[in-house]
């Protein structure tokens, strides 16, 4: 397995995702600035998010220390976090 150093940013202590500064391939070790590293379980593109800890289904995804949505399924550390597994909490709760 190829192990490459990939930089990613965790912006707040509360965050459970980090934003990649460079593309990461499956199996690559993501070095997270501002937090503990994680091994990417699948390819994650630059600018996209990787889970740095487990996010249970229905619980908030945190970036900037704020809620950016809720997980639609349980997300394991190292998983690509995007529209396929996160829902907005603002657009679903209006009458």
């Amino acid at each position: 397995m190829i192990v490459t150093m990939v930089n990613a940013l965790k912006l707040n202590e509360r965050d459970n995702v980090a934003v990649l500064l460079k593309d990461a391939g499956a199996g690559e070790e993501v070095v997270v600035q501002g937090g503990k590293g994680v091994r990417a379980l699948e390819p994650v593109k630059a600018g996209h998010k990787v889970a740095v800890k487990q996010i249970d289904a229905g619980t908030p995804v945190f970036r900037y220390g704020e809620e950016i949505g809720a997980a639609t399924e349980t997300i394991a550390p190292g998983t690509w976090v995007h529209t396929h597994n996160v829902r907005s909490q603002r657009m679903g709760d209006l009458e």
């Binding site: 900037y64 976090v81 996160v86």
Partner: protein, 388 residues
């Protein structure tokens, strides 16, 4: 840059007390049907700034009033020396009314009606008037003004997941510096406050301002639900760039406003009555949001992007700040400042923020932005309802 250069600029003082950073003659269409005459005049008199658009008619009263306020606001912008209004004659955005509202600011203004003499004769008369206005504008003299005379609009377009990490926080640093110097800074795009409204409301100067922030965001959310249903309110490029939800986009967007208290919430194309940071209720569509802030009196717009955009604004210099070096590499001719250096480890958010502040002051002193040099001057009036 000299010490003075950080705290003052040489601008064009106007009779109503405002100060222009440019000295333009506008030829302003009041309805899509009058655009042809405006274009003909601008072809003959290249020194003018023509404004053409598809609005001004075919709407209900609320949108007609919004169009009139926007057009009159553009004509009243401090960067404008004088205005030639070109109307068709029967439109909802009545040309005489628009001209009268501009005249109230003390600026020279004239208006011509296409239905009174046809396009060719209107254009011929317009050319003469525009030439006279240009000659007159060339006699305007500059005078030193404090940064408290500045109204700076903030915009983001074609955002990506880096926008909220590099470009927007750097603009936030510049926004705080401008506010410290007594300027007015407008945070816009209500769509991109959904999910960040609790933070903005928490920074409101008074409970009334907090209520106003929550009210405009709630209104926008209700409309967004009608327009998008369960779909995400994100452009395809936002999602491709890594943004997952509107909350994530909004939390990045509001970084542009820095950390100042929010002193006022104003409607689209309204002029701020307060200094410091204010919020304007504009749509997320950049062209219409820029137009609203320009009509509200912004002399300069600072515009961040991730994916890249060349958009400018007629009569108003737009400073482009990009979030990442890859886009800067592709679109460097369209972008003034590369905040991607923050991600590359070559500069801090503070450093780029101070650079943006200096760029605002230099632009106020007359330095040309990339969008100006490239002749980018898009214009669009917001509508709350459909045409009919």
């Amino acid at each position: 840059m000299t010490e003075r250069g950080q705290t003052a600029f040489d601008g064009y003082p106007r009779s109503n007390g405002s100060v222009g950073v440019r000295n333009h003659v506008l030829v302003l269409s009041t309805v899509g049907c009058a655009n042809g005459a405006v274009t003909r005049i601008a072809r003959e008199v290249p020194g003018v700034v023509p404004i053409t658009h598809s609005g001004g008619c075919g709407t209900g009263m609320l949108d007609a009033r919004l169009a009139v306020r926007t057009l009159a606001g553009m004509g009243t912008n401090p960067n404008v020396h004088s205005v030639l209004v070109i109307g068709l004659g029967c439109e909802a955005a009545m040309p005489a009314l628009v001209a009268m509202m501009i005249a109230e600011s003390g600026k020279p203004v004239e208006h011509l009606i296409v239905q009174e003499r046809g396009v060719a004769a209107t254009a011929a008369m317009g050319v003469e008037i525009a030439r006279g206005m240009l000659e007159e504008s060339a006699r305007a003299e500059k005078a030193e003004a404090g940064l408290s005379s500045l109204v700076v609009g903030l915009e983001c377009g074609g955002s990506d997941a880096f926008s909220g990490v590099s470009a927007n926080p750097a603009v936030g640093v510049a926004a705080d510096m401008l506010v410290e110097h007594g300027a007015t800074v407008i945070l816009s795009e209500t769509t991109e406050m959904i999910g960040a409204d609790h933070i903005l409301a928490g920074r409101a100067k008074t409970p009334q301002v907090a209520d106003d922030v929550l009210r405009i965001v709630k209104q926008t959310e209700v409309v967004a639900r009608q327009l998008f249903g369960d779909e995400r309110i994100l452009a395809p490029g936002n999602i491709e760039g890594g943004l997952t939800t509107i909350e994530e986009k909004s939390l990045g967007c509001i970084c542009k406003g820095g950390s100042s208290p929010i002193n006022e919430v104003i409607d689209y194309a309204e002029q701020p009555t307060q200094k410091g940071l204010v919020v304007m209720d504009t749509p997320g569509y950049d062209i219409e949001s820029d137009t609203g802030m320009a009509a509200g009196g912004a002399q300069i717009i600072v515009f961040t992007t991730g994916r890249g955009t060349p958009a400018g604004c007629p009569g108003v210099p737009v400073i482009k700040v990009v979030s990442n070096s890859a886009t800067f590499g592709r679109m460097g001719d369209d972008i003034d400042i590369n905040a991607g250096r923050i991600l590359d480890g070559d500069a801090s958010v503070e450093e780029v923020g101070r650079e943006i502040f200096r760029c605002v002051v230099e632009t106020a002193n007359g330095a040309e932005t990339k969008a100006e040099r490239n002749g980018e001057c898009q214009f669009g009036i917001m509508k709350r309802f459909q045409s009919f």
